[in-house]
């Protein structure tokens, strides 16, 4: 009780030793899982993605009758966790809550990233995506995207906007935005969304590019006006806000979430994991929880998810390079 996580890792270690001792017995996929399964998370505990992993771990554990243990390995834009996944045994006992940053952005942004987002992994299950919005303060003088762009053109380098950091998806999208709208704005980088939203509420920065879910309460309180969203069609939680595309700017950004494993895991284990994931995500309680977190669900098969990861990597590549130059 005092130290559950360490106890579990000890259990895991004991189990690993047991397996090496009897290594002649080939493990059948139908018996999987026979010991606790790790889910690596590239964020520190407490963020919304971490909570997704914890919720899934609980439900997967109940369905499969084994402990699923969330292991936080934050750091270096998620690449620490992805490296750990690449190096883990491909025996079906290590997965990762894969997401946009380490798989679609980091390999382009840091050329020395020691893994290939496609060949070094098995992308098992797609979970869903979160979109980005451009928000302004009510007092900032813009009520829609056109008036915002007009203000920016009238007075170049006068409007400040925040993002959750240099190289964050908000920053990458903002560079794409200034490029496509031919505007000049002043970028104020923050260490994450929390401090930025505090400054936004205090009118220190008048605009920000940020993920939508955490800003819905502020929108409801009329403390933030959403000008446009980065989805391909309008989203249910902000039905009155147009997409960038609707307004004539081809800006789409999805912060996707999925479950991935090391390369070449047993296809049977992968299939069982994916089938269980689909069952779990269909549970009304899980579905409702994802709704409150603003995660937009859609179904993709394992093959579709793998293609999606590949296309995301190529789609982001030019944007990331453009943002790195600025």
């Amino acid at each position: 009780m005092i130290n559950r996580r360490h106890m579990l890792s000890l259990l895991g270690l004991a189990a690993a030793v047991g397996i090496t001792a009897g290594s002649t017995s080939v493990e059948a996929a139908s018996d999987w899982p026979e010991k606790p399964v790790r889910i690596l998370v590239s964020f520190p505990p407490g963020g919304s993605s971490d909570l997704v992993a914890r919720l899934l771990a609980k439900e997967l554990g109940e369905k499969l009758g084994q402990q699923f243990v969330v292991e936080n390995k934050p750091g270096a834009a998620g690449t620490v966790a992805a490296m750990a996944l690449k190096e883990a045994a491909n025996d079906g006992y290590t997965f990762m809550l894969s997401n946009l940053t380490p798989f679609s952005v980091a390999p382009t942004r840091f050329p020395d990233t020691p893994y290939d987002p496609l060949t070094d992994f098995t992308h098992v299950s797609y979970i869903g995506t979160v979109h980005l919005g451009l928000f302004v303060r009510p007092g900032a003088g813009a009520s829609d995207l056109e008036s915002f762009i007009a203000m920016a053109k009238d007075d170049p380098d006068n409007i400040d906007y925040g993002t959750s950091g240099v190289g964050s998806w908000g920053h990458i999208v903002s560079v794409d935005f200034t490029d496509k709208t031919e505007t000049q704005l002043v970028h104020i980088p923050y260490k994450g969304s929390g401090p930025m939203r505090l400054d936004f509420r205090a009118d220190v920065v008048g605009a920000m590019f940020d993920a939508i879910p955490q800003n819905l309460p502020a929108v409801a309180d009329k403390e933030a006006i959403p000008l446009a969203v980065s989805a391909t069609e309008r989203i249910a939680t902000l039905p009155d806000t147009p997409t960038f595309r609707e307004l004539g700017y081809d800006i789409v950004a999805e912060n996707w979430l999925g479950i991935s494993a090391p390369a070449d895991i047993d296809p049977e284990i992968s299939a069982k994991m994916d089938a269980t994931m689909q069952d779990v995500m269909a549970l009304p309680a899980v579905d409702a929880q994802f709704d409150t977190w603003g995660i937009i669900r859609s179904t993709k098969t394992t093959e579709e998810f793998t293609d999606y990861v590949a296309s995301q990597f190529t789609d982001w590549k030019p944007l990331v390079m453009k943002a790195s130059d600025k």
Binding site: N72, G75, I188, G194, T292
Partner: protein
């Protein structure tokens, strides 16, 4: 009376048998986890977060809050007994708490810590009850310029805290700031001083620095033969009790510490650390007993403990009223609420008053439990010092390694901890203190971040720091504190000469 109605609502939520039970379980587990070196409130809350999934939201929050301040208290125990602070704010408690333990007064130090923590927390709760909405607005008045100036004040306070002269303190603060620059630069996204090591891209972990400088170096020093003859054979309640004069001397410092703590606690991110350092530095200037600071002065334990516990309570104000977490631990608390479908924000107080006021009232119970739990345990903790070195120190090293590893599950961090242990050992040999280094390390990067943000927003005009009244006032206080620190020092030297 609104306040009475709110408190009544709070009592009706918090005083149910189930909530009381989980509150007790929270502070109990929190204390024991917090005692482990390297395992602070963040790790303690993270470990027990899964339990809260199965509880109703009020109960979950009451329990996690109990774990949080229980672990804060537990961290002070390790600071006093072994000179190993669990958090940067507890490193101030080391300054006088550990000398007290070396003089055989560990029991007194722990007793005083329990009372001062309780007092500070109660003070913080009263401030919360009376001023919550106003303080939330106050936090919004703080822009980047004001934050920069708060950090300056914190760093000046830290240099003044040094027992071997302000110059050595300033040197250590600067070394801390330099170490803090390792990692990705917020403004350019470029990595600095990482030597190409991916693990350093996010900088050196704070717990790693603290455990190395304090914990490992303490073990090395002791292994090199520093004598420890302060373990008392018999422990009775009498030995925990401070003398009558000490009780009297502690009253005013407790109030000052708690006031400073309540003020700084509302500022997201920095509250507790700045509060303990500023409280200690202030007391060291105005106390009549100032010459004994750093040598086991009781005020040196009372002030940081009352300050950091008051701050621990008021830190909930921005978290709950604005829905914006001030620290990683607070982010975890918000996560616990979110998993129950509750979105913290300005409407929390009006929409879920039973939750907000129930939590505040649970702070009263929780801190009371903490007091009841810990006074009888003092004897047990002091007995820990009687464990022979050759059992105690290897165990401490193992616990430090486990604690450090558990932060990011990284073996690299353990090696860095050992490196800082060696640095800490040589610093001790040459009479440099680790506490100012630690606060430089914490505040330096934030100071840079806020400075550059303020400059970006003012389009490069440095006068912004003087034009904004809050910022100007804080800078003024820093200058006064620095001058004040220099003056009596010189006067004393002249007397000696």
């Amino acid at each position: 009376m609104d306040i009475l109605a709110n408190l009544a609502l709070g009592f009706s939520t918090a005083a149910t048998p189930m909530n009381l039970m989980y509150c007790f379980a929270g502070v109990f587990l929190g204390t024991f986890i917090g005692v482990l070196p390297g395992v602070g409130p963040l790790a303690a809350v993270a470990m027990l977060l899964p339990v809260s999934f199965y509880l109703p939201p009020e109960t979950a929050l009451v329990m996690l809050a109990g774990v949080y301040y229980g672990a804060e208290y537990g961290g002070s125990i390790a600071s006093i007994l072994l000179n190993i602070p669990g958090t940067p704010s507890a490193s101030v408690t080391c300054l006088d708490g550990y000398p007290m333990a070396q003089q055989g007064r560990a029991g007194v130090a722990l007793f005083v810590t329990a009372i001062a923590s309780f007092f500070g927390a109660m003070f913080g709760v009263v401030v919360m009850v009376l001023l919550s909405p106003a303080l939330a607005e106050f936090a919004l008045l703080f822009g980047p310029a004001e934050y920069f100036s708060v950090m300056v004040l914190g760093l000046v306070a830290a240099s003044v805290v040094s027992n071997h002269g302000a110059l050595r303190g300033i040197m250590m603060v600067c070394l801390g700031i330099l170490l803090g620059t390792v990692g990705v630069d917020v403004n350019s996204g470029e990595t600095r001083f990482t030597g190409g090591i991916a693990e350093l891209r996010d900088g050196v972990n704070l717990v790693v620095v603290a455990m190395g400088l304090f914990g490992i170096s303490e073990v090395i020093t002791s292994a090199r033969g520093a004598t420890r003859s302060y373990a008392t054979a018999k422990i009775s309640l009498k030995q925990f009790l401070p003398t009558g004069a000490e009780w009297l001397r502690s009253i005013a410092p407790a109030f000052r510490g708690a006031s400073v703590g309540s003020f700084f606690g509302t500022l997201p991110g920095t509250g507790q650390t700045v509060a303990s350092f500023v409280g200690y530095a202030l007391e060291k200037r105005i106390s009549r007993n100032r010459d004994n600071f750093g040598k086991g002065a009781i005020e040196g334990v009372v002030v940081p403990e009352s300050a950091n516990n008051a701050a621990a309570q008021t830190a909930f104000i921005p978290t709950l009223t604005l829905g914006i977490p001030g620290s990683a631990t607070m982010a975890l608390m918000l996560g616990a609420l979110m998993i129950h479908g509750i979105t913290p924000g300005p409407r929390l107080i009006t929409e879920r008053p039973e939750l907000f006021w129930g939590l505040i009232v649970s702070f009263l119970f929780g801190n009371l439990f903490l007091l009841i739990l810990n006074i009888p345990l003092i004897g047990l903790w002091v007995k820990l010092l009687q464990v022979p070195h050759f059992y105690l120190y290897p165990a401490v090293i193992v616990l430090i390694c486990v604690g450090v590893y558990s932060i990011d599950n990284s073996v690299f961090d353990i090696w860095v901890t050992l490196g800082f242990g060696l640095l800490g050992y040589f610093m001790r040999l040459y009479k440099f203190e680790p506490a100012p280094l630690l606060i430089g390390f914490v505040l330096g990067p934030m100071m840079e971040e806020f400075f550059r943000r303020a400059m970006l927003l003012s389009r490069g005009d440095p006068l912004v720091f003087l034009e904004r009244p809050g910022s100007a006032a804080l800078l003024g206080v820093s200058v006064i504190l620095l001058i004040w620190a220099m003056l009596p020092g010189r006067a004393r030297k002249q007397k000696l000469a």
